[in-house]
């Protein structure tokens, strides 16, 4: 009887979530796979022609797709490195005995509260106007110029803004990790005469592995899937040099009107992201140590 009651409650609480999950994730996902076998322009009334796997076959010959994939990989690698290094650094900083710790935490986290689109527009203004003015005023115009107009620097600008947005979020996860490390161990190491670097390298970082697993997973998948900042900051330009995967798929579908082909790209994209993130979780899980 009691068992049945709990089951009822389980159902009561999970069902709404399940329904939402099915309608906004599972169904569109399956429909996406279905559409990827058709040649269709995305307008409902126009004919859909079944072409089987042809869309997938075309992918390899699409240089813009390959370029975009490569740029996305480059972006993700850079972003994962910078976000996590800065995230850990922030976390270490705000778990010290500084007096302004709470204010610092709040401020470092704040960029994450601004939506990606708005963030992109704000930084677009900073890069195109503020940077130029700083460059003219200080003479460092080899650093302070409009990054968004340089095909290479535009990508770095994206990494920069993404780091600015995400580092605070990762910081929070690392803080919990650091606070979870038992004081006994730290104290023991101090008594044994370990210096700060030794302590960091031999004790704190290994014990932070669970946080690394989570943070790497999140930054990897966020990095691969980034769309909003990309759209508002560079719009894929200049010369399509910063057209990351999600934006590329959007442009294929709504710009060129190749709905089926774009869907095929999205499916491939899903497989890549899933493969990469699962591998990463598998690897970092193995490195986690128990206290």
């Amino acid at each position: 009887m009691a068992n049945r009651m709990t089951k009822g409650w389980y159902l009561f609480f999970t069902l709404p979530l399940l329904i939402i999950f099915v309608t906004v994730v599972i169904i569109p996902f399956l429909m996406g796979i279905y559409y990827s076998f058709f040649d269709w322009d995305g307008i409902r009334a126009n004919p859909m022609v079944f072409v089987g796997l042809e869309n997938y076959g075309q992918l390899l010959g699409d240089t813009r797709f390959i370029d975009s994939a490569w740029v996305t990989v480059k972006f993700t690698i850079l972003a994962v490195i910078t976000v996590n290094i800065i995230g850990v650094a922030f976390a270490l900083l705000v778990t010290t005995s500084l007096r302004t710790v709470n204010a610092a935490r709040a401020m470092l986290f704040m960029p994450n509260l601004i939506g990606g689109l708005i963030l992109g527009y704000i930084w677009q203004f900073i890069f195109s106007d503020a940077f130029k003015i700083i460059g003219e005023a200080t003479g460092f115009d080899s650093v302070f110029f409009n990054w968004l107009l340089d095909p290479d620097y535009a990508l770095y600008a994206l990494v920069f803004v993404f780091t600015w947005q995400m580092a605070g979020y990762m910081m929070i996860i690392y803080i919990t990790g650091i606070q979870g490390i038992s004081n006994d161990i730290i104290e023991a190491s101090v008594i044994d005469g370990a210096g700060y670097w030794q302590r960091l390298r031999k004790i704190i970082l290994p014990l932070l592995m669970p946080s690394f697993t989570i943070c790497l997973f999140l930054t990897l998948s966020f990095g691969f899937k980034i769309y909003d900042v990309n759209l508002s900051l560079t719009g894929g330009g200049p010369v399509n040099k910063t057209e990351l995967f999600a934006l590329h798929i959007y442009n294929e579908i709504f710009g060129y009107g190749n709905y089926g082909f774009g869907q095929a790209k999205a499916v491939v994209f899903f497989v890549i992201v899933a493969a990469v993130t699962l591998t990463q979780v598998y690897i970092t899980k193995k490195r986690e140590v128990e206290m």
Binding site: V22, T23, I27, M31, D41, S128, P238, N240
Partner: protein, 415 residues
Amino acid sequence: MKFRKSLLLLLSIAVALVLAACNGGGDDNNNEEGQEGDGQKITIFQSKVEISEALEALATEYEEETGVEVEVIGTTGDDYFQQLQIKLNSNQGPSIFSVRHITEAEKLQSYLHDMSGAEFVEHVAPNMALEYDGKIVGVPYGVEGFGLVYNKDLINPEDVATQEGFVETLESFNGTDVAGLSLAQEAYFLIGHISNYPFSLQEDNYAYVQSLNNGETTMSETAEFQAFGDLMEDIRANIPSPLDISYDEQIGDFATGKTAMIHQGNWAYGMFADYDLDFEIGMLPFPLLDNDKLAVGVGSNWAVNGTKDEAEVQAATDFLNWMHTSETGQRYIVEEFGFVPAFTNIAAENLDPLSQAVLDATNAGQTIPWSHNYYPANLVVNDFTPAAQNFFLTEDVTGEEFIESLDAAWDNATK
């Protein structure tokens, strides 16, 4: 085990729902939102940023007069067509939308309501209505023209009447605080409009576009394009980088006298409302190969969404009718929107100087047609813009290579 079972259940529910959704998608094409709507509310989604505020004011006046609620959905500019497509596909399509030209009309044909026979359609100026398949599917916003909008204090029209003189004039501004000319970073202002000239200077621009589509000719081997490439090279050498300048900044710099000329159309006049212009402005032809005619065409067309229920279609048609026949509507079109009317029943008085220039050119027959209406759909945003960005960013891309990249862009869009 239990987990497996529930996953299986979940997936089977999902699959069932998908199948249902697909079936639904198949046969209710002509009947979306058929159940709701009593003709008391219509929505408008249109593509011109410049008239947004005025259109909202007009909508309020209409609502006060007739009680029909008109909702104006904010517009986004360059990606209008994509946004429209998304709205239409998700059953949130507006009752009135805009269609720029025949290639878009072809794509959206199943949504377009046949307006032939409506009262106001009879007043459309000859050959100005958008026809598809023998039906009138769009009525023109107005006639628009573009060219060199210039500051009369800084530019003498005779100096820029020839290609050579134009380049010399641009060079004469080097080293001064004033830029000779500016383009803006938005797709159509960067390359879309200006790329018209070599097309429109062809004897038959439509036939030329067709032969490009068929691969019978290339831009690189056409004299007008070679000249265009050279001219763009000269322009690049003498103007501030257009990728740095937004439409707003372009207008602002011109209005404050920091730029002598901008390549813009009469639609830009509304943008000057925020500034006190202390000089006179006018519009001149863009002197590619000494061209002396303004590029004039229909910028966009109002279309009614025929997939709405009958009451709403009627209400939408009524609104357009009111807009084009009532005194208030006509006043808005001319004075607030700043359109040069393409309707015989609307008198064009008190036009702003840019629209007046367009009207004068039209009356004098000093016009060349717009060609970008015949370009493959979305070509300007998708393919021409990256090519132009590359040209303006990389100093060592020659005009000739630029035209070759436009050829490549065209091939990509028509493949």
